[in-house]
Amino acid sequence: MIESTEVKVPVSGIGIRRKARASVAVIGNPNAGKSTLFNRLTGLRQTTGNFPGVTVEKHLGTVQLAHSAFNLVDLPGIYSLDGISTDERIAVDVTLGRVPGTERPSGLLVVIDATHLYQGLYLLEQLLELQLPTMVALTMIDAATANGISIDINALQNALGGIPVYPVNSISGHGLDSLKEGLEHITSIGVPPIPASWPQLSETAERLAQQLGSDWQRIDVIQALLQTHPGFSGKLGHELGPEAIAELRLQLFGDAPPAAAEARQRYRWVKQVIADVQEHAPLYSKVGARLARWTNRPWPATILFFAVILLVFQAVFTWATPMMDAIDNLTSGLGRLITAQMGENAFSSFLADGVIAGVGSVLIFLPQILILFLFIIVLEDTGYLARTSFLMDRVMRGVGLSGQSVIPMISSFACAVPSIMAARVIPDRRDRIATILAAPFMTCSARLPIYALLIAAFVPNQSIGSMNLQGLVLFGLYLLGILGGLGTALLLKSSALRGPKPHFMLALPEFRAPNLQTVALKLFDRGRIFLKRAGTVIFVVAILVWTLAYFPRLDTSEYPTAMNASATFEQADTANARAAAQMEQSWLGRMGRVIEPVFKPLGWDWRVSSAVLAGFPAREVVVAVMGTIYAVGSDADDQSLSQKLRSAKWPDGRLIFTLPMVLGLLVFYAWCLQCAATLATIRRETNSWRWPAFAWVYMTSIGYAGALVIYQVGSLL
């Protein structure tokens, strides 16, 4: 399991003067080009982490200007400040300095997509209430032009009461210099005027803020009145009394819910601004829309969906092979070199069998994981993932959920941790929990190593039609994960999480060419996280397992001796027997025997059992453990791990890795929840230990049951 962890790179240590810097928050609608602009402005001078207390990703970067530098905080993409989702609440709280450990920004850089001026201006209008120095970066001008939209920048600036508006093209870099120049003066441009779009609300908020004293900012009052911040709503009710506040709300909003009244009121102003600054507003953008419309037609969309998924699996298996072979040759060559140079002793075994075999066996999957992430990132960046929600809403409805659960589930194919966080967009708590519990079933990238290892070792590499058999088996395993996830959602939604029919609403972005820099940066981030885990968690586990497997050493006198074999056979046999005997009486061997009975009904010997047990904190460790166990336990180091697995035997000479056993093991992996990071994320997101505990027991049980049935039935046949 790969999760984004906080990286503590001192931002001030990257060649920039150390002094208290101003900080500017970047905020805008989802898909407005916010991250691209952020990357363009900060380059590699950025860090990723989480906001304290919540799992909302926090991107921090530094912008170097001609005369100064300042910090840039990238906030989650949002449509409004209504605070319904965690993302929205965090965005508001950060801009208001309510988040501990995050300084209040000295200014706002609002990113507006020129082709989506309508929703962008709505958010801007709300942001102006915050009374912070504000600038607008207008992105996607070229796309707007291509759609026949022309925006009068000066008129826009005037309509916004003089707020600076900078048209930028984050891809060509056009307009970035002016924006940077403008940013240099952001702290001195003063507080923006509040648009006269809703004078009653403005006046009431102003009056109450003064009346209530210094504890209250005007935005606090607004949020309390609009009931978008439960804390402030309660506090205001306490201050004014329930009757007075009901009266105020009736005056301001009539009998409509406050949020509906706000949308009506503010969009009136937005429409006026658009009429003033935009030549004509098309109903729907032309570029990309034709493609979107065609690919959205029911049948082409369905065919395309399966074609894309199949392509991903084929690519993961075939494109990665040359790179994987190279890494394999490198690590096994290094291991042999060390043994040859240093001779057979504890230290050379530690390096070759412990460190290199252990870490190397996980490292080899870096190419496949990068290819998988590349596809997911590109699909996300082009807007295709959002389209699949529309396509799959029907399917999700069948299990009691909506299309909104589709993005978390698809991104779970990369890693369940961010996808569980992505479930936050689902408004209903029951639907969200059902999605969170279904997501870990999707085959994440950490399951790939064990699948790839077992498939490469036990499924013949042959073609069936134009498809590769190994690719097909992998596809089947992914289907197994999907079935497990959907089945679980159905089960929960028809029992413990039964609730009203979910809504489905989603802003659908149009297709867009992926931005190379954004894709590269995200991919780089993923690769770094994977390597960091290989270098820390997996490294430590590999060393631990090697120690347990290597010690205590047998006395030479205890070695079984070959009595009557020819010289060469004698040597080989003795060496193998010696290694096997050593392994058996090592600490790991003794521990393995204790737990062997639990997994024996699944056809696993103590080595497989201990590897599986070691994998409960992080499932990719299993491959490292197998790499180490089989490296220590065998004398022939020039065999690959898959060859060693193929020849592994029970004491009575039967093969361990039979077809039913391997299939059972694969099913176990498809369903079992072996990931501490996922459990911790479920705990944080559901705010209870009940759900992660349930998920663990439930998934482990059905994984065990699945493996048991397949092995037992398969062995009878």
């Binding site: 929703q119 509906a260 109903l283 809403d393 029919k501 989603l506």
Partner: protein
């Protein structure tokens, strides 16, 4: 006539919105308010969900919520 009754390609004006459904309010926050012109961009297999376009944006919703939007059809689609 409601939004749920439009055929693909139909262009219509939103007239009256029933705000009692919380799902409807989320759609209003995305910009589906009275007096705007929308087009039915797409209807999924089985007639649900729907995709509605307005002001260059595109939003998907279910028929259940679409029924809360009263509309007048301006132009018929393909």
């Amino acid at each position: 006539m409601t939004l749920a009754d439009l055929a693909r390609g139909d262009v219509a004006k939103l007239e009256e919105i029933d705000t009692r459904d919380p799902g409807v309010i989320r759609l209003m926050v995305l910009g589906m308010v009275e007096d705007i012109t929308v087009r039915m961009e797409n209807i999924a297999i089985g007639g649900d969900p729907l995709e509605v376009g307005f002001f260059g944006s595109s939003v998907s919703l279910r028929k259940e919520q679409a029924r809360h939007f009263k509309v007048t059809r301006i132009a018929a689609g393909d």
